[in-house]
């Protein structure tokens, strides 16, 4: 009996080990997705082409850190996330393939977002920071970035941590750019901090703080704000002037084999098809609230105003991507200094 028991225990452990450690069969394309619609699009792609896609859903900040940590031994083939500046940071570290196939039928906005070396392709656009607020607690909301430093908003405003929330760095870069550039814009951010700016990890945490009344106004990505406001009609969204364009982009790991590159190119073309863009909008939860950037794409979802009605600015991803490390480090220090 003892031997039987010992045998069963050993067999169970061996089976568990085999299940956990057994190498996966050819996973096809490994796609790191920071966007909600990634898994749905991947499933549709596999269904249509037969090419397997192992989609890994991560927050954008975690996704970028993973790619940076893996360095020149990437466990991924494609990555899909918000932020051309982040893509440029990865490219400057030599981690990305070049000459990716640009999407066809890009509209004028889309064409401005192309990478000069083809290190990334734009697949849509959101805004890096918009204001979502509770009218019951904040009767007169701000409409521009400079309004935020007014005494009425002291201790009322919250934003994400750019070191954790991927889409927040472009917003911070935009704030700095709007306030005179780098490093001149530091004074503006320090003034916000002195006024009691609250910082939370990511969009969800900042919006949860707004809901729990820890803050009265949250600065978050447009897609998160519009989606959240749709579920909480008491909250209102303001698109500040200027608003900073935040393209969602796709990048490819450097050094892929030819077959993987060919499959990756098929996937990149697939996600830009009008029917698939519709799928992204309807199955993308918060990330579905984006502005398409191709001429044949469906219209944006109803909660989004026309891009022409907004004062949008596109930051130079090469310049601001190169500054990301220095700015994030400075910001972390500035926010913790008393």
């Amino acid at each position: 009996m003892r031997r039987l028991f010992a045998g069963v225990v050993v067999a169970v452990i061996v089976v568990i080990g085999a299940v956990l450690l057994w190498p996966a069969p050819d996973a096809g394309l490994v796609v790191y997705s920071g966007l909600d619609y990634g898994p749905t699009v991947a499933a549709a792609f596999t269904k249509e082409t037969g090419i397997k896609v192992d989609i890994v859903r991560l927050s954008t900040g975690s996704l970028l850190a993973r790619i940076a940590s893996q360095g020149h031994h990437p466990a991924w083939d494609l990555a899909w996330f918000d932020g051309a500046t982040a893509a440029m940071s990865l490219d400057q570290a030599g981690l990305l393939a070049h000459h990716l196939p640009a999407p066809t039928n890009l509209n004028a906005t889309g064409k401005t977002m192309l990478s000069s070396q083809g290190a990334y392709i734009p697949t849509g656009m959101t805004l890096a920071g918009v204001f979502i607020y509770d009218p019951a607690r904040l009767a007169t909301p701000p409409t521009s970035w400079s309004d935020l430093t007014q005494p009425a908003y002291q201790g009322q405003v919250g934003m994400n941590d750019p070191s954790i929330s991927g889409p927040t760095y472009p917003m911070l870069a935009g704030m700095l750019s709007n306030a005179g550039g780098w490093p001149q814009g530091q004074n503006y951010v320090e003034a916000l901090k002195a006024d009691g700016l609250h910082m939370f990890d990511k969009n969800d945490a900042t919006l949860a703080a707004l809901q729990s009344q820890a803050i009265s106004l949250a600065i978050v990505q447009s897609s998160a704000a519009v989606y959240f406001a749709a579920a909480h009609p008491a909250l209102k969204v303001i698109f500040p002037s200027p608003a900073f364009a935040l393209p969602n982009v796709m990048v490819e790991a450097a050094g892929l084999k030819d077959r993987q590159r060919a499959d990756a190119a098929k996937f990149m073309a697939f996600v830009m098809r009008p029917d698939i863009q519709k799928l992204r909008q309807t199955h993308g939860e918060a990330d579905g609230d984006y502005w398409p950037i191709t001429t044949d794409a469906p219209a944006p979802l109803p909660g989004l105003p026309g891009l022409g009605t907004l004062d949008t600015v596109t930051l130079d991803p090469a310049r601001w991507g190169g500054l990301e490390s220095a700015i994030n480090s400075w910001f972390a220090k500035a926010m913790t200094d008393s």
Binding site: M1, R2, R3, F5, A6, I13, I16, G17, V19, L20, L21, Y32, D54, I55, V56, R57, L58, S59, G61, S62, L64, A65, R66, A68, S69, Q70, G71, H73, A75, A86, S89, D161, S163, I164, G166, Y169, M199, F200, D201, K202, D204, A205, A208, S212, Q213, A214, E324, S325, A326, N328, S329, A332, K333, M335, T336, D337
Partner: protein, 516 residues
């Protein structure tokens, strides 16, 4: 045998020395792009000292009570300390965060205090108290009763006797302070969950942020790791010096202990009240909040449920490997060679002083190259879990193996029993119960392990700890609670099934007549 010992040492060096050397040498060769900010370190040091000062006298008091008193109050106190010892810090924190999701509670003075540094201090104290009490208890366990008896015989008045007792308890208080301070400065789960760390930086979370957020900064993380290790080392040296100076006063000659006595009424009130407070604030409040929030909302919409069986599997596999390796280490340690136990002690003590966060960071760097490209694989995660659990596995199994009578093996050899029979029917049968408890403890600790999981988990295969903390970060407390409770439930079922099976297998067999 020497070859085996050499191979084992090489394996341990590969598991501990190589990754730590790779990580800790970084600051000497690579500058940190973000520079080194001392805020996080100073905050953590201040908190560690404060928590040590709060917890050390309490820990020593509770340890003394557990050693010399008996009764329900002391039993409840000891049980509460064990539950707090085993409960992951981030699960307790999640429970308290659930309580403060109510705007009324959040906006109250208590809420403001808790969601600031006050909450960190409170939770750190809760988690450090069992460590402080258990370490001090070991010191009191060596104390002889002759001093107290001598004081009574010589007619020393009660308050002076108490002062003398306090002075004699100094080594225990020093040990409590050290372990509480070290545990606090190395704690990762609480700062990772409480969310005040963005305003009040904590060193462990600062290390993690440098490794797992953009821009990554390995050199800066390694420099902070040095500060953490040196501080823990310094605290340990201070404690050893106090121990060396005052221990002789407490444990002189052959210790003679009195059996535990019943509590006086005042002692029952004091320790009963303490136990009630610990149960209420440390266990009942957060656990009831977790259960309440877990049962509300859309239970079917719980994401990442697969993290529960996955982490249970990781825990079972890593615990089996750690215990197997631990038993091999203990067997080889028992030989005549003196160098082997000494080297082993150095290796394992060094690893005990290094928190999982630093070991995990070392693994990220050491196993992400052309020769050992293991980063991003389940294999590396299991190896890291095993390495982190090995010292505790050795300590848990060491006592049991030490009690095995060598003559059993000798007798079995004389009767020419095959090695398989000796292993299963003699050693395994005798070690089964302590082995099961050790295995369950290691399985539980790996299942809820956080820092190594955060740094080394395979994207797409989220472990339980990461899933709970991710849910916390998004304020999805219902999901975090359901995952935490399902994990506990699965561990409970596993423990119950294995205990029943083991009792059945190791029950006394009826004697059978030998057949010639």
């Amino acid at each position: 045998m020497s070859l085996l010992r050499g191979m084992l040492l090489a394996l341990l060096a590969c598991l501990f020395i190589y990754p730590l050397e790779r990580l800790l040498s970084l600051p000497f060769f690579v500058p940190s792009p973000g520079g080194i900010d001392s805020h996080a370190y100073l905050n953590s040091l201040g908190l560690a000292v404060l928590v040590g000062l709060i917890v050390a006298p309490l820990g020593a008091l509770f340890a003394h009570a557990l050693e010399v008193l008996k009764g329900r109050a002391v039993l409840a106190l000891g049980f509460a300390l064990w539950v707090l010892f085993l409960a992951p810090g981030y699960v307790l924190t999640t429970g308290w965060l659930v309580i403060f999701t109510s705007p009324v509670a959040r906006n109250s003075a208590f809420g403001h205090a808790f969601l600031d540094v006050g909450g960190l201090i409170f939770l750190y104290c809760l988690k450090a108290l069992p460590f402080a009490a258990f370490v001090a208890r070991a010191t009191f366990a060596q104390a002889s009763s002759s001093l107290a008896e001598a004081a009574i015989v010589l007619g020393v008045i009660p308050w002076r006797r108490r002062l003398l007792a306090l002075r004699l308890a100094l080594p225990a208080i020093a040990a409590s302070f050290t372990i509480a301070a070290i545990e606090t400065i190395q704690e990762f789960g609480i700062p990772a969950t409480l969310g005040v760390t963005t305003k009040f930086p904590i060193i462990t979370y600062a290390i993690y942020q440098r490794l797992n957020t953009t821009p990554t900064d390995f050199a800066g993380a390694a420099a902070l790791c040095w500060w953490l290790i040196l501080t823990a080392g310094l605290l340990a040296v201070m404690q050893l010096s106090v121990q060396a100076r005052h221990q002789a006063a407490l444990t002189h000659g052959r210790a003679r202990r009195n059996p535990p006595r019943d509590c006086a009424a005042s002692e029952t009130m004091l320790f009963g009240g303490s136990a009630a407070l610990l149960w209420l604030l440390g266990v009942a409040a957060p656990m009831l909040a977790l259960i309440d929030t877990a049962l509300s909302g859309d239970i079917s919409a719980t994401d990442m449920l697969d993290s529960v069986p996955r982490s249970l599997g990781y825990g079972m596999l890593a615990a089996s490997l750690a215990l197997a390796l631990g038993v091999i280490v203990l067997k080889l340690k028992a030989g005549r060679a003196r160098w082997f136990p000494a080297l082993l002690q150095v290796l394992l003590s060094a690893n005990m002083a290094v928190p999982g966060l630093i070991l995990g960071a070392g693994y990220v760097i050491a196993f992400n190259n052309d020769f050992l490209p293991l980063y991003g694989t389940v294999l590396l995660l299991i190896i890291a879990y095993t390495a982190a659990a090995l010292p505790i596995a050795i300590r848990l199994m060491g006592t049991a193996i030490g009690q095995l009578d060598k003559k059993l093996d000798e007798a079995a050899r004389i009767f020419a029993l095959p090695s398989f029979v000796r292993l299963i029917d003699i050693e395994a049968a005798l070690l089964a119960k302590p082995g099961l408890y050790a295995w369950l403890l290691v399985t539980a600790s790996v299942m809820y392990e956080l820092p190594i999981s955060e740094l080394l988990y395979v994207p797409g295969a989220t472990p339980l700890g990461v899933a709970i903390v991710s849910a916390d970060m998004m304020a999805e407390y219902g999901q975090a609670a359901r995952l935490a409770l399902l994990g506990l439930l699965s561990l409970g079922v596993l423990a119950a099934v294995l205990s029943v099976a083991l009792n059945f297998v190791t029950r006394q067999q009826p004697e059978t007549e030998a057949v010639p």
